[in-house]
Subunit: 366 residues, 4 copies
Amino acid sequence: MADNSIGKRFRITSFGESHGKVIGIIIDGIPAGMEFDLNLIQKELELRRPAQSEITSPRFERDIAKPLSGIFNGKTTGAPLCLIIENEDFNSSKYDQVKLRPSHVDYVALRKFGGFADYRGSGRFSGRITAGFVIAGAIAKQLLKLRNISIFSYTKSIGKIFDDKDYSIENEEDLLRIREESPVRALNPELSKLMEQKVKSVMKNKDSIGGTIKCMVHNFPSGIGGPIFNSLESNLSKAIFSIPAVRGIEFGMGFNASLMKGSEHNDPWIYDNEELKTTKNDSGGIIGGISTGMPIEFNVAIKPTPSIGISQQSVNIKTRENISIKIEGKHDPCIVPRAIVVVEAMTAISLVDFLLLEGKIPSILN
Amino acid sequence: MADNSIGKRFRITSFGESHGKVIGIIIDGIPAGMEFDLNLIQKELELRRPAQSEITSPRFERDIAKPLSGIFNGKTTGAPLCLIIENEDFNSSKYDQVKLRPSHVDYVALRKFGGFADYRGSGRFSGRITAGFVIAGAIAKQLLKLRNISIFSYTKSIGKIFDDKDYSIENEEDLLRIREESPVRALNPELSKLMEQKVKSVMKNKDSIGGTIKCMVHNFPSGIGGPIFNSLESNLSKAIFSIPAVRGIEFGMGFNASLMKGSEHNDPWIYDNEELKTTKNDSGGIIGGISTGMPIEFNVAIKPTPSIGISQQSVNIKTRENISIKIEGKHDPCIVPRAIVVVEAMTAISLVDFLLLEGKIPSILN
Amino acid sequence: MADNSIGKRFRITSFGESHGKVIGIIIDGIPAGMEFDLNLIQKELELRRPAQSEITSPRFERDIAKPLSGIFNGKTTGAPLCLIIENEDFNSSKYDQVKLRPSHVDYVALRKFGGFADYRGSGRFSGRITAGFVIAGAIAKQLLKLRNISIFSYTKSIGKIFDDKDYSIENEEDLLRIREESPVRALNPELSKLMEQKVKSVMKNKDSIGGTIKCMVHNFPSGIGGPIFNSLESNLSKAIFSIPAVRGIEFGMGFNASLMKGSEHNDPWIYDNEELKTTKNDSGGIIGGISTGMPIEFNVAIKPTPSIGISQQSVNIKTRENISIKIEGKHDPCIVPRAIVVVEAMTAISLVDFLLLEGKIPSILN
Amino acid sequence: MADNSIGKRFRITSFGESHGKVIGIIIDGIPAGMEFDLNLIQKELELRRPAQSEITSPRFERDIAKPLSGIFNGKTTGAPLCLIIENEDFNSSKYDQVKLRPSHVDYVALRKFGGFADYRGSGRFSGRITAGFVIAGAIAKQLLKLRNISIFSYTKSIGKIFDDKDYSIENEEDLLRIREESPVRALNPELSKLMEQKVKSVMKNKDSIGGTIKCMVHNFPSGIGGPIFNSLESNLSKAIFSIPAVRGIEFGMGFNASLMKGSEHNDPWIYDNEELKTTKNDSGGIIGGISTGMPIEFNVAIKPTPSIGISQQSVNIKTRENISIKIEGKHDPCIVPRAIVVVEAMTAISLVDFLLLEGKIPSILN
C-alpha cells in the first residue's frame, strides 16, 4: 500500500523479507559530502545482530551491509543511498500460514495480503526488517553528531526488574562501555545480572518476557517541532511504533504525569550561567510539541516475543480445528536488548528529518 | 512549516487562534453524498465546550460551527468542507510572552516563531484548537457508522483514582448515558464522585491534576493497517499526540505487557460460533500493526494543565530576572473530561483515513 | 479525495464554490514575521477580477479578500493564513447537470461526484476558484521579492495573433505599466489592439477564442530543483495544469526544440563580467530539472472557453435525447487576459516552495 | 532532498547511477497476487536499451533486471519490489566536471550537490536512470491490463518530419508490430525512412536532433482525476517532465487549441449505440482534469541531445578560461526512439496510481 517509507526531507524506504534474498533500505535526502563510514554502520548492526550473546536468537547472521548506490569517492553525493544485507542462515521449512500462532501475524497477514505474503520467518513482519532501520539510523546519527547531538538508549526494565535511576549522557563514553558489557544492555551491573538471569530463566522454560527501553537525546536544539500535527511526540511516536513489539510510548513523566498535580509536574525556568534551563525535566524536553533544549526523554514498552516453545491453544484456519501449537525455530526470549539500537535508530531518523526541514543541517557539507 | 494538516485520503487542515477571529477546520476527502448533520457536530462540540460544568473553565463559548463550503442540498459534494467557530469570550489583556509560565509554551513559541506568534490565550497552542478536531471527528464518526464502527472513550483515572474495570461498548447507548451523567466522564458512578471531588479539591487550591483516558473501537474490520511505517499504532499515536497535554499512549496491555511473559500475554485464537476470535484481547485489537477484528483499545496519559494559580518560580526572559508567577485567567483544573471527545475525534479521523485508502468506504455514497 | 492541497513546505489548500458562500484559501508554511499587505493581495486580485474591462465577463464581483487567521500585529505569525472572498453576484437559476455542455465539466463531475457536486456556476471547477490561487500567489511573490526574484507574465498570443518578441523584465516597471494599459495584457500596443479586436469579434459572434501566455522569472538562483521527480519542470507543470483551461506547457524553446539540432539548441557558457552565463537561453533557465541562474521561461497554452452562446449539438443525459444547447450567463470570450496573474501566482507558489525547502528563505523573517 | 519518489498509492523510488554499480527501482503499493513476469519487463527494457540499432548509442548494456524482494511463489506479495540492473559497459575516464558541456548538467550538478555528485556518465542525471522507470512501467501496464487499459506511444516527429495522421490503438497488435519494425519507432513506413535518414545524417555530422512523441491511452474509465491540484494533466505532466530531455507537453489539441474558437474546439456529446461519446476528441480525453472516457492523448517535445561531437564554445569553471569542447563517448544522435517506452512507463505509473487510489484496482488480486 505504499507504506514502506517514512520521513519528509530525510526519507527511508524499507524492502526485503526475513527469508528472502535481502533486507534493504533506501535513504533519500542525505546531504552531499558526508564521509561514508561503513564501519560505523556495521558497529550499529552488531548491536542488533542475532547470535550476539547466549540470550539472543541463535540464527547466525553476519549482517554485512553492502552499499549499492549514492556514494562516490567515499562520500555521499546527494543521491539516494541503497544498502542491502544478504540473508544467510534461514530455514523456511517450519512455516505455514494456516496454524495460527497466538499473538502472531499469521492471521492479519492473511487478511491484509490475501495469502500472497511471504510468510517464511514472518516475511515483512519480521524483526529482521529493522536491520535496515539500523543502517539508516547510523547515518542519521552521524548527521546529528554534526550538531553535537547524541542519542542513547538502554534497558530500563525486563519483566518486573526496573532500573529507575536517572542517567545523563554527558559522559556518553562511559555509558556506552557499561552498556556494551551488559548482555541485556542495562546500565546498573547488579540489575543487569538479575535481568540476565530472568531472561535465562524464561528461555529455559521456552517462554519469553517483555521490558522497557529508555531513550535520551542530548543537545537537541530548542524550538524544533510544532503544535498539533507536526509535534515532536507525534513524529517520534509514529517512528517508534514502526518497530515490531512496541506497545507503548511515554514522554517525560509520561503515564506518571497523569497521577500528578500541576504544581508538582510543572518545570520551573531558571538561568543557570546565562543559560535558560528548567530545574527539573518532567516534560522530557518537549513542551507544546516543541523542544525546550533540555534532554528529550521517553520510555518505550516492549511486549514479550510471541514465539514461545510452550504448548498453546489455537486454531487451524483451513480446517477450522482447534490445535495445540509449539513454536519451533530460532527465537529471542527477550527482544529488548536487541531493540535498544533500533529505538535509537528510529529516533535519529525522525529527529534528523526535523533538523533538515528546518535548515539546521545544510544540504551540502563542506 | 506546513504542519497543520494530517491524513492522506481524509485530510484535515487546522487554522485559527484562541483569541483570533475564528477557530477553523478544512476537511478534504469526504465522500460525496453524505448527509450533512450540523446537530451531530454541535452535540460533539458540547462535550468539549468550556463552561459545561462546575469543573471546567468558565470561559463562555457557545462554539457554534458554521459551514462555509462543501455542502449542497444538505449533502456533502466531494469538495472540501470548511467550518469555522467564531471566538466570543476572550480577554487577551493578561498575556505576555516574556514572563515564562512553567511547563507552558511561551519559551518554545518564542524559539519557533521568533516572537511573532499570536500568544494571546496561547494562540495556536491552545487546547481550543481541538474544537476543529472535534468537528472533523464528528464527520469521521458518521462515516465509520456506515460500517457500524463505534468509538467510545471515557475517563479511566484522575490522579490516583483508577477505574480498572473492562467495559464493552456493545451496549453503547447505556455507556453514553452514564458518561453523560458524569461531569468527569467516568463510567463508575462511585468513582466518578471521587474523581469529581478530587478535581474540586485541586481547583480550590488553584492547582490542577492529570488523568488517563481509555479509548475503545468496536467493529473495526480485520486486515487494516500494515507492518512498520503505516501500522495502526504509528498512525493512531501520531494523531493522538497532536492533542495538547498528551504524554503517553499504550495499546492493549501497553506498559503492563512489558511485565509479562509470552505465555501470559499471547492471545489464543478460537472459533466462537464460526467466528474467529481471541479468548482475550491483550493485544488491544492490533497485531503486527494490523487490526485483528477484536476491539481496538488504548490508553492515553494526560498531564495536569500547567496553568495554575499557585505561585511558581520562573524567569522574565527579557530582563533575565527571577520572578514569581501566578497564572490568572479562565483555566481547567483537569482537562481530562473535556479531552475524551477529542481523543475520540482524532481516533475517528485516523481510522477513517485507513478505510478510505483501502476502499472500505466508497468515495460516493448512494 | 484530499486533492485540494499543493506544496510541501509552502502548502496551499483551496476550498469554496463559484456560487457558494465563499471562495477560500489556506496558506500554510509562511515564515513568521512577514508584513501582511492586504493591498498587495487586492491589487493582484484586480488583475483576475471579472468585469474589469469590456472584454471580460460582466459578472460583478469586487473580490474582497478577508483574512480569518494567521496575522497578529500586522504580521504573519508562522500559523496558517486563511483568507476568504464572499461571493456576491451570482445567478444559479440557469444551471442543471443533465444537459451536457460540450467540452464542459457536467459529465465528468457527474462521474466523479455521482451527482452530488455543487454544479452551480461549475462549482469547484469554476475558474473563480483561482481567486484563491491569486491570494496565495501574492504572498508567495512577496516572499520571492525578499530574494529579489520577479515573476512576470503576459499575453503572447490570442488566436493566431502572436507577439514573438523577447522581453526582459529587467525594466519590470515599464512592462507592468504597458501591460496595465492593455486590456488583453499584451506588451506590444499594436498587437494588443489587434488582439482586442479579435476578442470583440468572437464576443460579438457569441463565440470564444484561445491564446498563449508567456511567463518569465528573473533572478531565480541557480542550483534549485533536482533530477527526475522533483525537477523544476515537474513541479511547475503540476502547478500550472491546476489552472482550468490550460492545455499545454513548454519550457525554453519547448516544442520548437524538437525541430532543432543540438548544435543549434545548446546554450554555450561564457563569463560575462566574472558572472557565468549562457550566450542565449534556449533552455529556458532549466537544465537537468535544475535552475541555471538564467531567466526561467515557459509558455502556457489556453483553450477557448467552452461556454459559448452559439447553438451546439449535445445530449440530455437523463432522457438520452439529442439536444441543441446555447450557453447563457456571464462568460469570458477569452480567458487569457484574466489568466496571466493566475499563471504568475501558481509559478510563485511552486518556486517559493522550493526555496523554503532548500532553506533559501528563512522560516523567521527579522 | 528526498526527491527520488513519485506516486501516492503506487509509489516508485529510483536509485543508482549511470556508472555506479547498479540502476535500481523500488515499487511500493503493488497489489498482492499479481503474476510476476520478468519476460514482460525485459521486453520493455529492450525498447529502451542502447545499442538496439544503428541509430542508438553503442554503449553495450544487456540491461537485465534482477528482482531482490517482493516476490514469493512467482507472485507479488503486497511488499515492495526492488529490482536492479547491474551496469556493465562504462568508461568513466572521459568525464570531469569543470569543462562545462553546453546545455548539459555539469554546472547545475555542481550548484546543487556542491561537487560531490557522481558525475561519471552524468550520474543521477543520465537517461540511463529511466531504465528503472521502464521496469516500474511494465508492472503498472500489467495492472492496467486488468482493466483492459492500453498505453501506446510512437514517434510523431523527428526534426521537421511530422506524422500528423491519427491512429487508434484498437488494433494495438498491428501498431506494435509496425513500430517494432521501425528503428525510429514511427508508424508510417515512408516517414520512418525519412526520419531514419535524418538521424543518420545528423549522426554523421556528430550532431543531434529533437522530436516529438505522441502517447495514447485507450479504455481509461471516465470520472478519474479531479479539478485543480490533482488533475490528470497535473499528475501526468509531473510524471512526464521527470524524463530527461522533455521540454513540453500538450493534451488533446494542446498549443493548437490556443489558435481555435470555442465553436471549433468544443467536442459535442452524442450517444453511439447507447454509449456516451464525443464526436471528436480535441479535449484529449480530459475535461476539468477528469477523464471523459475518450482516449487520453498528449504530445511530448524532446530536445536534441546535448552531447554532440561538434566543437562548441564553453568555459572551464575552475580556470575560468574559454574553451572549445567536443563531447566524446557513446551518445544517441536522437533520443526519441528510445524515449517512447519511457513515456509509456511514466504514463502507466501515473495512471495506475489514480486507479488504485480510487479503488478501481483492488489491493489483492485473486
